[in-house]
């Protein structure tokens, strides 16, 4: 049974995906039941495993795909952090998506690829070896494409093409990095760090850079971020789950794996590549915020904000001091909760009020109080206002920066806080203090859209309010760091 668990978890997304592709557009009920059932089952399995892993258990399964090519699935604390985030948000997004699409066309294709993406994300999280990671990573690359192109208009197709033009070269780079490294070390498992002493430092530095390019593209590091704002033409559930959480987090998760499980903290420090990575993350944080300021479309502004915030995770991983690691890992969850809330809200504004631009938000606060309250919570959390989750990450990253003798990180955090305030507060002001245009028709009588939004916002609030408890993202991140990285 225990060996089957990782496979079962994967199947909860793969089976709905496989069946959904063959369903007719009209079989709404079956399709919804399949997807919701899969998501519920997955959350259930994860709850069971959370208790087991907290008690010290870990699960491992290997499937031989070809001679010498083993698909290794493994559930450790870090994997579980990412899986439980993506699974619970998948459940929320599925509810949201069912309401969002209503009777719109091509739903089987959408939900099929959507579940496939979640399957790939789960696979990335559970991968126990570099090659398994790569396979799922590429599956994610490809299965995202139909979702970006979903609306099939010129803009969507252009954005989807742009996405591939970023993703495919970077995948190639990643493959080169893997092959180069594994040719001298043999297959790399995340459980036992590879012996890199046979490879000369210059090559190692180049390989590290290739790895960062390969996985960092998904985390939208500058200058490989251009695809993300363009991909905002996708339907709201895609922007919410994939572009705020799954895809970008897969990139960030990949960077964490590379730094901690492929190279190892000590080697990264020895090679002197940690500081350049932290600097790159900092540049991304600032650049993303500056660009967000200039956007006049809500989703675009949120996308640039994502670019900026995801690099907090990379910053934590690169600094590699105890608090920075914990802060970065916790931010993986915090940012996901807050950003999905914001994207859910952006989708509701679009669907229920026809509002996409920032000017359109004027006065919507009192017309759509639930949505707007959630939006405000998410935005304030992004700025780092307590007690919403964001401030916890900031404090931990700041202390972590000092622990790593990188006091400049504090200025990055400070500047980012102010920039976040500069691009989010005007939106809140518009929502609650400006007069609405008289002809705006806005209502939020769509419980299936609003309820997941409220749930995500509440989770973001509780993650900060109860940060010190063991079950919070921070508590779990501390557990991971203590167990795996800070012996």
């Amino acid at each position: 049974m225990t060996g089957l668990l990782p496979i079962l978890i994967l199947l909860t997304s793969l089976v709905p995906a496989a069946i959904t592709f063959f369903l007719a557009q009209e079989s709404y009920r079956l399709r919804n039941a399949l997807n919701l059932g899969g998501a519920l089952m997955k959350v259930g399995l994860i709850v069971v495993m959370l208790f087991a892993v907290a008690g010290g258990a870990s699960y491992e399964t290997d499937i031989a795909l070809a001679p010498g090519l083993v698909l290794l699935l493994r559930i450790d604390a870090l994997a579980l952090l990412f899986v439980s985030l993506s699974a619970s948000l998948w459940l929320l997004t599925t509810i949201y998506a069912i309401a969002y699409f209503g009777k719109k066309a091509e739903q089987s294709r959408f939900f099929g690829f959507f579940s496939l993406c979640v399957f790939a994300t789960t696979g990335i999280a559970l991968s126990g070896s570099l090659i398994s990671f790569f396979m799922f990573f590429e599956l994610l690359t490809l299965s995202t494409w139909p979702l970006v192109a979903h609306k099939q208009n010129a803009a969507s197709l252009k954005a989807a093409r742009s996405y591939l033009s970023y993703a495919l070269p970077c995948s190639t780079v990643l493959l080169v990095a893997i092959v180069w490294l594994e040719s001298s070390t043999g297959p790399i498992l995340f459980t036992d760090p590879p012996d890199l002493s046979g490879v000369d430092p210059v090559s190692l530095r180049v390989i590290f850079a290739l790895f960062i390019i390969g996985v960092g593209m998904k985390a939208a590091i500058v200058p490989l971020h251009g695809w993300l704002p363009a991909a905002m033409v996708a339907p709201a559930p895609v922007s919410a789950l994939l572009h705020a959480v799954a895809v970008v987090k897969a990139g960030a998760f990949g960077v964490i794996r590379v730094v901690y499980d492929v190279f190892g903290v000590d080697r990264v420090e020895e090679l002197g590549v940690g500081v350049p990575l932290a600097a790159l993350a900092s540049v991304t944080i600032i650049w993303g915020s500056l660009r967000a300021l200039q956007q006049t479309e809500i989703k675009k502004r949120l996308a640039y904000s994502t670019i900026s915030q995801v690099s907090y995770i990379l910053l934590g991983a690169a600094l590699a001091s105890p608090f920075a690691v914990v802060g970065g890992l916790a931010h993986l969850v915090h940012q996901g909760l807050m950003k999905i809330t914001l994207f859910f809200c952006a989708g509701i504004y679009d669907e229920r009020a026809g509002v996409r631009s920032i000017e359109g938000l004027n006065g919507l606060g009192w017309r759509m109080p639930w949505t707007s309250t959630c939006f405000s919570l998410g935005a304030l959390g992004m700025i780092g206002l307590p007690p919403i989750a964001g401030f916890v990450s900031k404090i931990y990253l700041g202390i972590g920066g000092l622990q790593a003798d990188a006091a400049w990180v504090l200025w990055v955090l400070g500047a980012s806080t102010l920039l976040n305030a500069a691009y989010f507060l005007p939106l809140l002001y518009r929502l609650w203090y400006c007069e609405a245009a008289p002809d705006v028709e806005a209502d939020e009588t769509a419980p299936a859209l609003v309820a997941p939004t409220v749930a995500a916002a509440l989770a973001a609030l509780l993650a900060g309010l109860l940060a010190a408890s063991e079950i919070s993202p921070l508590g779990w991140a501390t557990l991971i760091a203590e167990r795996d990285y800070l012996q």
Binding site: R291, L293, F391, G398, I399, A407, G464, S469
Partner: protein
């Protein structure tokens, strides 16, 4: 999960206002929102009267909440909750007016933050509480949404956010230096030589903004008058004390002493004199607040015994300044000349106390601080009483010019509120005098003390006779801000990064041409036959 350990009252004192604030959001409660306000600070007031009974911890909340009271905390908590309770009563005529519900909700949030600042033992709780009191007071300032209020609120939020960031960074450096989240340990870590200059400077900026420290005070004369009267009372009486208390909590004794004393005295005199150019009585009071806060910051900088008595000074100022702001509202509501005269007399009595007239609470507060000061600063403190006397006489004359406009509610009830605060500002310093200064009450009856309090007021009276004739220019509030001119937000344009594919069509055609060329080269066996083995060798050389 442990909800809490230790006495429950501190937890109740903090969560009760939050609960009431949340209740105001319920549609059924909207009509009663304002009615709840006087109830919000009652548990905290009870706690202050009872005193701390040990540390309360809530290990799962935030980053581990710890609360307790010592004597200074208890005094400020008592003053703050009493002022908030009275101001909550004074807010009652707002019931049913536009935006009253929103005002009530955020009133409760600011209150909870203000109380939390005085109770937090750990830096995370302190930061959360400070952020609440600092940023949520934006809603008190912007309340009536007039052009003036919006401008004040805009200036305020920019400065408050800067302060919040400075504070966060300073606290992070402190927590790292102390390897602890406990405030006491952070202060001790800061005290170790060499001083952590950057961190302390950041904290002085963060707290100084809130405490109206010159030159970070520019928001205050705009914001305090912009809020409705009860809001101004808590802003000027209680909320500024959060910044002052932050300085007391985190700065080691004597750190940045000279800087703080110079800035404090600059504020004490500069603001009092600048206030004479203001027409709006609330703006005059706001400048008086900056001036009084300057004195307290000066005492913090002086260190030693003077620093110890700052909470005692703050107690009197909070109650008295609250009373003065409420009296502006009472004057607006006065309907007969008898009522107007009574308001003015009451304001005059409280003003005399703030200026340190002998035997008043203010005289005791000043005498307490003077005890720990050197000769020079003692003289400065006495001279500042002249300035205070002047600005408050100017305030009285401006108050008399206030037109009755707001004739709702029962006037007798309204006037009883500042009267109660004035009484408290007189009685509590006497009750606590021996505990805080170690002197007998008879100390204040000595000729020295009496004359000490009397001469500045006498000089101020004489000077004001000249001043009221001699028309000073009337200037808009905000002094240094005027130098910056009206800040206009400008749209910023950044160049976008060059796209990854500069020109697809051109690139494709170039690629095609190159590919044909390459193909032509590759199909020649002479070339490939050499190149492939070389490539293999090269790969091997790299990999082995």
């Amino acid at each position: 999960m442990t909800l809490w350990t230790g006495p429950i009252l501190p937890m109740v004192a903090l969560t009760w206002p939050l609960l009431l604030g949340a209740l105001t959001a319920l549609p059924a409660m909207r009509r009663f929102a304002v009615r709840l306000l006087p109830l919000a600070p009652l548990p905290a007031l009870w706690l202050a009267i009872m005193g701390g009974q040990g540390v309360t911890t809530a290990p799962d909340l935030l980053l581990g909440v710890t609360l307790d009271l010592d004597e200074a905390r208890r005094l400020l908590l008592g003053m703050t909750s009493a002022l908030w309770a009275v101001a909550g009563l004074a807010a009652q005529p707002m019931a049913g007016k536009p935006h009253a519900t929103m005002f009530s909700g955020f009133w409760c949030l600011v209150l909870a933050g203000n109380l939390g600042v005085f109770m937090a033992l750990d830096v995370a709780t302190f930061y959360v509480a400070f952020a609440a009191v600092s940023l949520a007071s934006w809603f008190l300032i912007v309340h009536d949404r007039s052009e003036k209020a919006l401008h004040a609120a805009r200036v305020y939020i920019v400065i408050a956010l800067l302060g919040e960031v400075a504070l966060l960074l300073g606290l992070i450096i402190g927590a790292h230096a102390a390897q602890s989240m406990a405030i006491d340990e952070i202060r001790m870590a800061f005290g170790d030589k060499p001083l952590n200059t950057v961190a302390i400077a950041l904290l002085v900026i963060g707290f100084g903004i809130k405490a109206g420290l010159v030159p970070l005070h520019v928001w205050l004369p705009l914001a305090h008058p912009a809020a409705p009267v009860p809001g101004s009372a808590v802003l000027s009486g209680a909320i500024v004390k959060a910044g002052l208390f932050g300085l007391l909590l985190f700065l080691p004794d004597g750190a940045f002493g000279l800087t703080l004393m110079i800035l404090g005295l600059t504020g004490a005199f500069g603001a009092a004199l600048w206030g004479l150019t203001q027409a709006n009585p609330k703006a005059v009071l706001a400048y008086s607040t900056i001036s009084q806060m300057g004195l307290m910051v000066m005492a913090v900088g002086a260190g030693g015994a003077a620093r110890e008595t700052v909470p005692y000074f703050a107690l009197h100022h909070g109650l008295a300044k609250g009373a003065l702001f409420l009296l502006v509202g009472v004057m607006m509501a006065a309907r007969s000349s008898g009522q107007r005269i009574l308001s003015l007399v009451l304001a005059a009595v409280v003003s005399a106390s703030v200026a340190g007239f002998p035997l008043t609470g203010g005289a005791l507060a000043k005498a307490g601080v003077k005890d720990g000061l050197t000769d020079m600063t003692t003289l400065a403190l006495s001279l500042s009483s002249v300035a205070t006397g002047l600005i408050l006489l100017w305030f009285l004359s401006r108050l008399w010019d206030v037109k009755s406009s707001d004739g709702t509610g029962i006037w007798a009830f309204q006037v009883s509120l500042p009267a109660a605060l004035a009484l408290a500002a007189f009685v509590t310093p006497w009750l606590l005098w021996s505990d805080w200064t170690g002197h007998e009450p008879s100390y204040m009856l000595k000729w020295d003390s009496l004359i000490d309090g009397l001469w500045p007021v006498a000089i101020a009276l004489a000077a004001s006779a000249v001043l009221l004739r001699w028309q000073l220019p009337q200037l808009p509030p905000g002094d240094l801000l005027q130098l910056l001119g009206r800040w206009q937000p400008r749209t910023m344009t950044l160049p976008d990064l060059p796209p990854l594919r500069p020109d697809r069509r051109k690139a494709a055609s170039v690629l095609r041409e190159r590919a044909t060329e390459m193909e032509g080269m590759l199909i020649r066996w002479r070339f490939t036959g050499v190149a492939v083995p070389l490539l293999v060798l090269l790969v091997f050389a790299i990999l082995t």
